[in-house]
C-alpha cells in the first residue's frame, strides 16, 4: 500500500546560474499539494526532474514508490501532465488529439474522453490552435483523466486564465481527487487558487525548500503585522520577516508565537501570497 504518490529526497540540480539544493517533500495519496514560489524559484525545474526531462545531480525521486528513472515508462502510465501551454500539434482536432495521445496509454478509455469532451464543451472537430487557452487546458485535463492518471502534475495551468475559467478548473480538480485515490501536484504562483483547493503546500525560493507541510500549518504559522513607523522597535524589526516600510507605516510577516507579544499592533491572517512575499524578501522560516 503506497501512502505517498510522490517522494523527493534531497534532490539537487545545478545550472550555471541556478541551483536546486537538497529538495525534499512528499505528496500523500488523495490530496492536492500546492507547489509555490516566485518566478525562478525552481518549480518547473523540479517538475522536469520528476518527469525525467532533466537529469538530477543527486537525491532520489520516487513516484508511486518506484524510482522515476528506473520505472519511467511504468510510472508515466499513471501520470497526467498539464503545462502552462498546450503541447499538442495545433493542426490536430480534438478528435485527432485523442487518437495521438491514446497511442501511449495501455488503459486509455475512449468513453471517459468522450464524456470529458462533452462535459468541458470541447468542440470535437475544432483544431487545437483554434481553441481558447481555457479550452486547451481542459483538453489536456481530458487527456489526463482518460487514461485514469493517479497523479496529476500541473505546471502553472491557471496563468492567463480568466477568473471564471480558473474557478471551473479548480472545481474539476477537487472532483478529481474526491475518491481519495488520486493526487495533484499543483505548481503555481497564483496562490489564491491554492487557498481554495490545496491540502498541502510546498514553498520554495531560490532553489531552496522554505516550507513543506499542511496548508493549515503554514497559514496558522504566520501573521501579517502592521503598524505606524514610530511603533517599530528594534526587537520587533528582528522578528519580522520581509519588513516593508512606507511613509504610512510598516508591514511584515511574523511567526504566530512571536505575534502573541505584539497584541497592540494590527495582526491579520497571512495569505500564502503574504507568506511568499515576506519569505522571498526576508529569508526563510526558522
Amino acid at each position: 500500500m503506497i501512502d505517498h504518490y510522490l517522494d523527493l529526497r534531497n534532490v539537487s540540480k545545478s545550472f550555471s546560474a541556478f541551483k536546486l539544493r537538497d529538495l525534499s517533500f512528499s505528496l500523500p495519496k488523495g490530496y492536492i499539494m500546492g507547489f509555490v514560489g516566485p518566478n525562478g524559484a525552481g518549480k518547473t525545474t523540479t517538475i522536469q526532474l520528476i518527469l525525467n526531462m532533466l537529469e538530477k545531480d543527486a537525491g532520489q525521486i520516487l513516484v508511486f514508490g518506484s524510482d522515476n528513472i528506473k520505472s519511467e515508462n511504468a510510472v508515466k502510465q499513471d501520470i497526467g501532465v498539464v503545462f502552462d501551454s498546450v503541447f499538442y500539434v495545433d493542426s490536430w482536432t480534438v478528435k485527432d488529439t485523442e487518437k495521438a495521445i491514446s497511442i501511449f496509454y495501455d488503459n486509455w478509455n475512449h468513453d471517459v474522453f468522450s464524456e470529458m469532451v462533452r462535459r468541458f464543451d470541447l468542440p470535437p472537430r475544432k483544431r487545437v490552435g483554434e481553441l481558447s487557452r481555457g479550452m486547451q487546458m481542459k483538453l489536456m485535463l481530458a487527456c489526463a483523466f482518460s487514461h485514469n492518471a493517479k497523479l496529476l502534475i500541473l505546471d502553472e495551468p491557471t496563468s492567463g486564465l480568466d477568473p471564471v475559467t480558473r474557478s471551473e478548473f479548480l472545481e474539476i480538480l477537487q472532483e478529481y481527487i474526491k475518491d481519495g485515490e488520486r493526487s495533484v501536484l499543483f505548481s503555481t504562483h497564483i496562490t489564491t487558487d491554492l487557498e481554495r483547493v490545496a491540502d498541502y503546500i510546498t514553498l520554495i525560493n531560490q532553489g531552496e525548500l522554505i516550507y513543506t507541510g499542511s496548508m493549515e500549518d503554514l497559514s496558522g504559522g504566520y501573521r501579517l503585522i502592521k503598524g505606524r513607523t514610530q511603533d517599530l522597535t528594534v526587537e520587533l524589526e528582528k522578528n519580522i520577516i520581509g519588513l516593508r516600510k512606507t511613509d504610512m507605516g510598516f508591514e511584515g510577516l511574523i511567526g504566530t508565537k512571536e505575534a502573541a507579544q505584539y497584541k497592540n499592533y494590527i495582526l491579520d491572517r497571512a495569505t500564502i501570497d503574504d507568506i511568499m512575499i515576506g519569505i522571498s524578501k526576508g529569508g526563510k522560516k526558522k
Binding site: 522536469q48 518527469l51 525525467n52 526531462m53 519511467e72 515508462n73 511504468a74 510510472v75 508515466k76 502510465q77 501520470i79 497526467g80 501532465v81 503545462f83 501551454s85 498546450v86 503541447f87 499538442y88 500539434v89 495545433d90 493542426s91 485527432d96 487518437k99 495521438a100 495521445i101 497511442i103 501511449f104 496509454y105
Partner: protein, 390 residues
C-alpha cells in the same frame, strides 16, 4: 507496443498534415518519368525529397512544444530518438515503393523492362544518399533544435551536390566510379551496407567531423556511379549490352569472356610508324575526310567485320544494336591488322567491329571518341557489351 514504435506512429500521425507535400514528389516522378529518366535517378530524387521533407517533423516538434508531450508520456529518450529514425526511414521506404510503382506504370506503357537489379540498384543508391543526408541532419536537429540546426542541416545537401561534380576533375575518383559501374553487385551491396552503417552511427550520435566527410564522399562516389548509367553517353557511361544482329539488346554475351576478348584488341590512329611494323594490312575507306585508324589483335579473330552501330533507347538507358557489315574478312590475324578511314560524328558511336570469339559467340564493340587530348587519354577507344572500354 514498444516505445519507439509508439513514437514512430505518433510521427506518422503528426506528419499527416504534410501529405500534400508528397504530391509534389509524385509530380516530380511523373515529370522525370516523361523525360525518360532511369529508375535509379528517380529513386535518388525521391530519397532527396524525403530527406528534405523529414526535417518538417522537427519543425512541428519545436513549434508545438512536443518535447513536453514526449516527456509526459511513457517513453524514454532512446525511444524518442529511435522512433524518429524509424519513422523517417519508413517515410523513405514508402516513397521508394511509390516511385517504383509509378515507374512500373511508365515502363508498362512505354514497353520498357523494369528488372530486379534496376530496383535493387535504385534502392541501394537512394538509400545511401538518404542515409548520408538524414544521418548528418538528424543528430543536428536533436541536439540543436530545428531553428538552430536549420542552416547547418542544408550542408549535407549542398556538399553532396558540390561533390558529385568532383570526379569529373579527379581521375582517381573517376576510375573508382568506373569500377563501381562495372561491378553493379558491389555497388548494390556497398550502397546498402554503407547506408545502414551511416544510419547506425548517426543513431548512436557518433557524428564526428571525420565521419561526416567520409559519409559525404561515400555518397558522392556511389551516387556518381548510380547516376552515370543514365547520363549522357560519354566515355564513362554504363552502356547496356551491345547485341549481335541476330540478338536482342537484353541478351548480353556471357561476361566471363567479355573482358579477355577486349584485351586482344588494340585501336590507335594509323601512324606511319605503326603501319611500318606490318608487311600488309586490310583497309577500308568509309570516309575520305575521316581519321585513319588501325585495329590489331594479339590473337587470330574469326569472322571479323567493320559494321555500323544503331542506337536503341527503349531499354535501360541507351544501348546499341549491330547494324550492317561494311567490310569483313574471315580472319583478322596479329600479323595483318585492319585499317579504316572513318568520320566519327560525335560522342555517340556510329561504327564498330564484330567478330566471333573463341566460344563461337558473335560479339560487337563500338568505336568511340574520347574527346580528350592525346596527352590525357587515347583519342579513340573500344567499348564492349558490358561497358568495359579499351
Amino acid at each position: 507496443m514498444t516505445g519507439f514504435l509508439r513514437i514512430a506512429r505518433l510521427d506518422f500521425f503528426t506528419m499527416k498534415s504534410q501529405l500534400a507535400a508528397y504530391l509534389s514528389l509524385v509530380l516530380i516522378v511523373l515529370m522525370f518519368g516523361f523525360m525518360g529518366s532511369s529508375v535509379t535517378l528517380l529513386c535518388i530524387t525521391g530519397a532527396w525529397f524525403v530527406a528534405l521533407i523529414s526535417s518538417n517533423i522537427f519543425a512541428i516538434q519545436e513549434k508545438n512544444n512536443l518535447d513536453r508531450l514526449y516527456s509526459s508520456v511513457s517513453v524514454g529518450l532512446k525511444d524518442i530518438v529511435l522512433g524518429r529514425y524509424v519513422s523517417v526511414f519508413l517515410n523513405y521506404l514508402i516513397s521508394f515503393l511509390g516511385v517504383i510503382i509509378l515507374y512500373s506504370g511508365f515502363a508498362f506503357f512505354q514497353h520498357k523492362a523494369l528488372e530486379l537489379p534496376d530496383i535493387l540498384l535504385g534502392f541501394s543508391i537512394s538509400f545511401l544518399v538518404f542515409s548520408a543526408i538524414t544521418g548528418i541532419q538528424m543528430p543536428l536537429y536533436f541536439k540543436m533544435g530545428y531553428t538552430k540546426a536549420k542552416v547547418w542541416s542544408m550542408v549535407p545537401f549542398i556538399a553532396v551536390m558540390a561533390l558529385v561534380t568532383i570526379p569529373s576533375f579527379v581521375p582517381v575518383l573517376s576510375e573508382f566510379a568506373g569500377y563501381l559501374l562495372s561491378n553493379q553487385l558491389v555497388l548494390i551491396a556497398g550502397g546498402m551496407v554503407a547506408g545502414c552503417f551511416i544510419q547506425i552511427l548517426s543513431y548512436r550520435k557518433r557524428m564526428k567531423r571525420r565521419f561526416c566527410v567520409l559519409a559525404i564522399i561515400l555518397v558522392m562516389m556511389l551516387s556518381v556511379g548510380g547516376c552515370k548509367d543514365t547520363a549522357e553517353p560519354d566515355h564513362s557511361d554504363t552502356l547496356p549490352p551491345v547485341s549481335a544482329p541476330s540478338e536482342t539488346t537484353s541478351s548480353p554475351a556471357s561476361p566471363e569472356y567479355g573482358e579477355s576478348a577486349l584485351e586482344n584488341f588494340h585501336l590507335a590512329p594509323a601512324t606511319e610508324e605503326l603501319l611500318n611494323k606490318y608487311d600488309s594490312f586490310h583497309e577500308y575507306i568509309n570516309d575520305e575526310d575521316g581519321a585513319r585508324l588501325v585495329i590489331w589483335t594479339d590473337a587470330a579473330i574469326k569472322d571479323f567485320a567493320f559494321i555500323t552501330v544503331n542506337h536503341d533507347g527503349t531499354g535501360h538507358g541507351l544501348s546499341f544494336l549491330a547494324g550492317d557489315a561494311l567490310f569483313s574478312v574471315d580472319e583478322l590475324s596479329p600479323e595483318k591488322p585492319f585499317v579504316v578511314k572513318l568520320l566519327i560524328p560525335g560522342s555517340t558511336p556510329a561504327y564498330g567491329i564484330s567478330f566471333v570469339d573463341e566460344n563461337g559467340v558473335e560479339r560487337c564493340f563500338s568505336i568511340n571518341l574520347s574527346g580528350r587530348g592525346p596527352e590525357e587519354a587515347p583519342p579513340y577507344y573500344l567499348l564492349d557489351e558490358n561497358g568495359n572500354s579499351k
